[in-house]
Amino acid sequence: MEFRRSTIYMGTTAILVLSLTGLMLHAKAKVRASAPLFARKTAVVRQLELTDLCLFTEATYTRHLSMTDLSTPFQDAPLSLEHFPSGGLVGPPPHLAQKP
Amino acid sequence: MISARNISKVFNAGRPNEFTALHGVSLDVQLHETTVLKGPSGSGKTTLLSLIGCMARPTTGRIFLNEREITSLPERFLTEVRRSTFGFIFQQFNLIKGISALENVMAPAYPTGEKFSLLRRRAMETLEMFDLGKRADARIEWLSGGEAQRVAIARALIHNPAIIIADEPTTHLDTRLSHEFMDIMGDLKARGTTIILASHDPLVYGSDLVDRVVEMRDGQVVDGESAL
């Protein structure tokens, strides 16, 4: 037995903690480095007057989430069931879902 | 000197399966002597040993260890007395599987926080005393019966106890190993260690090194030899 088990364990944990810290620093550096990128993105948004993220392009009501309304997913028939996976991931915009 | 005064031990008090293991036992054990508790199984030997060895507290009665009363100590402090005064050898050795012989010998001392290198050296020395230096890193499962027995004894000695308590140590041993065991006990006695054995093996209670035999039956001491 060259090393005690606790030494090996603590060493491993220390390495893991260091890697996690490293990743956090990586995140920090990445965020700082992406400031100009965000400046370009916001410029595009401002110029094109965009309102939504291009995340779910499968249905119109998920493409422009904030512009949609409650009836859109069920427009075709009152009993139609949600058939787009993204409809199960995202709720309706809160300003529609919220009771006044 | 260890004196037990009028001790009783009741298990499952107040329940239908209430069972009285000891009835008002009084006993004095002289230090530096070897005492054997003899009697059939169920006679209360083991219970008496565990009470003397600070593993449990009697329901009534008092036990004094060198004039200090240990009966009313809570578990936390009882453990400390147990650790610093007694070494235990069990039936079937009760070694912990999966770790090495050395670690088995060291294990009782872990909670004391003794420095690793010191503890390791001490454990090695104890093992070497029993010619087990080469087997120190071997796992318990790989040891022969004789080796396991010696590791168990080495573990009991790690704190240099003043008193060794052995419960039916030879039950599962053949004659050769039983003799070997008694030889080791003889060595320990020669070094001044007090030894208390519980056994119904004639090889043990008939041995030369036994100074006193206490016979027990149905939770009471029956042999006149123990009369105070």
């Binding site: 005690r4 088990r5 606790s6 364990y9 944990t13 893991l16 996690l20 990743l23 956090m24 995140a27 990445k30 965000f38 370009r40 993105k41 916001t42 410029a43 595009v44 110029q47 094109l48 007057e49 965009l50 309102t51 993220l53 291009c54 995340l55 392009t57 499968e58 119109t60 493409r63 512009m67 309304d69 009836s71 427009q75 787009f84 996976p85 993204s86 199960g88 991931l89 995202v90 709720g91 915009p93 809160p94 300003h95 | 593993m55 449990a56 936390r76 147990r82 235990f88 009760n94 999966g98 670690e103 294990a107 001392a109 872990y110 909670p111 926080g113 690793f116 503890l119 573990r155 704190h159």
Partner: protein, 377 residues
């Protein structure tokens, strides 16, 4: 002090040995635990990064969008409304927007067509998002034809393709000139899709929206804060699929962990008895059990979090992509910016490590109070 540390280390040594001895069971526990942390951390990192990105980017979205509805459906809005709306105090400017969708049967893709407020392409040419370019293999200068509202195909020359760095907002866009779009979609000259308002003071949003609704009862104003809140609530706790999967995994784990913590095998029980007999105290056994729980949960937490970080930010959440993609063929291959902070990791820690440790207190106490003389009986 050194004694205390040495005691902890000794007990840790022993605990590790005990854990290694039951490799199969503990290995399984560790991997399930790690998987659980991994899923939870991935969801947390992914949604947080996305929300943060949305909040940052959509900070420049129009302050108020005014839509018009008829029988609960969208209608084009008369451009003339903008004159009256501009009179409202606090409204700096009003700009009619023209946009809509185009479903491409050949590629099963939904495009968003719009007329940009600034720098529109000349008639006959278009700018497209990198998603479309990638899917159709179209490059600058190529000519693409779409069928308009009247069924007649119209062809456009690609003037520009958006950088892939802005994919998350532009992937499916087709930008064209106002003249082309009106011709293409058939929206009359005096109508537009909706109106975009510029308002400086956010405190006035509600008042202005209210005034507009009073002015045009069939209008529907959407305020920027509402747009942002939409993305803040994007993957709420009720958001279906993932939470169902996660709940099932978590439940299985809880059962497993509970069983592990409460069900002491005869061998373990005997071992604890031996330890107590040879000089371990109840609190030493509890310490051992504490280390047992901490070693497993801490390792699982660290491994799971590190893997989740790699998964979300190095592979762009490759495991989630199939779920998010759904039927869409235009999924943007975006790289998320790692917006994570200490608080998030701390939350994760409290969600995963603390409950496990707490649930093991009582079982470990039970185990620790085994009578030392059991080994003698």
């Amino acid at each position: 002090m050194t004694r205390m540390i040495e005691r902890q280390r000794h007990i840790m040594d022993f605990t590790l040995a005990a854990l290694l001895r039951r490799k199969g069971k503990n290995g399984a526990l560790l991997s399930v635990y790690t998987l659980l942390v991994f899923i939870l951390a991935s969801i947390l990192f992914f949604t947080h990064a996305l929300k943060h990105e949305a909040a940052l980017v959509l900070n420049e979205a129009p302050e108020i969008i005014v839509q018009r509805t008829m029988t609960g459906r969208y209608q084009t809005i008369p451009v003339a409304w903008s004159d009256r709306i501009r009179q409202i105090n606090g409204v700096i400017s009003v700009h009619p927007r023209l946009w809509g969708y185009k479903y491409d049967k050949d590629f099963l893709a939904n495009y968003t067509m719009m007329v940009p407020a600034g720098n529109p392409p000349e008639p006959g040419s278009i700018d497209i998002g990198s998603g479309i370019s990638r899917m159709r293999g179209a490059n600058r200068g190529d000519i693409i034809a779409f069928a308009g509202h009247d069924g007649q195909p119209r062809s456009f020359t690609i003037r520009n393709i958006f950088d892939s760095e802005s994919q998350l907002v532009t992937s499916d866009l087709i930008l064209l000139s106002e003249k082309d779009y009106r011709d293409f979609s058939g929206i009359p000259e005096d109508q537009s899709t909706d109106l975009a308002l510029q308002v400086r003071n956010p405190r006035e949003y509600a008042t202005i929206a209210e005034k507009i609704s009073r002015m045009y009862p069939d209008s529907r104003p959407i305020v920027r804060t509402e747009i942002q809140r939409t993305y803040d609530a994007l993957f709420g706790w009720r958001s279906g699929l993932m939470i169902v999967i996660f709940a099932a995994v978590a439940l299985a784990f809880v059962i497993f962990a509970w069983d592990k913590a409460t069900g002491l095998s005869a061998e373990e029980q005997k071992e604890i008895g031996i330890l107590k007999a040879v000089g371990w105290e109840t609190s030493d056994i509890m310490l051992m059990k504490f280390w047992e729980g901490s070693i497993i949960s801490l390792t699982a937490f660290l491994l799971g979090t590190i893997l989740a970080y790699a998964h979300v930010f190095f592979t762009s959440a490759a495991l989630f992509a199939p779920v998010i993609k759904g039927w869409s063929t235009l999924y943007p291959t975006f790289r998320l910016t790692p917006f994570i902070d200490f608080g998030q990791v701390a939350t994760l820690f409290f969600l995963t490590v603390v409950p496990y440790t707490v649930t093991t207190i009582i079982p470990s106490w039970r185990a620790a109070t085994i009578d030392p003389d059991t080994v003698m009986r």
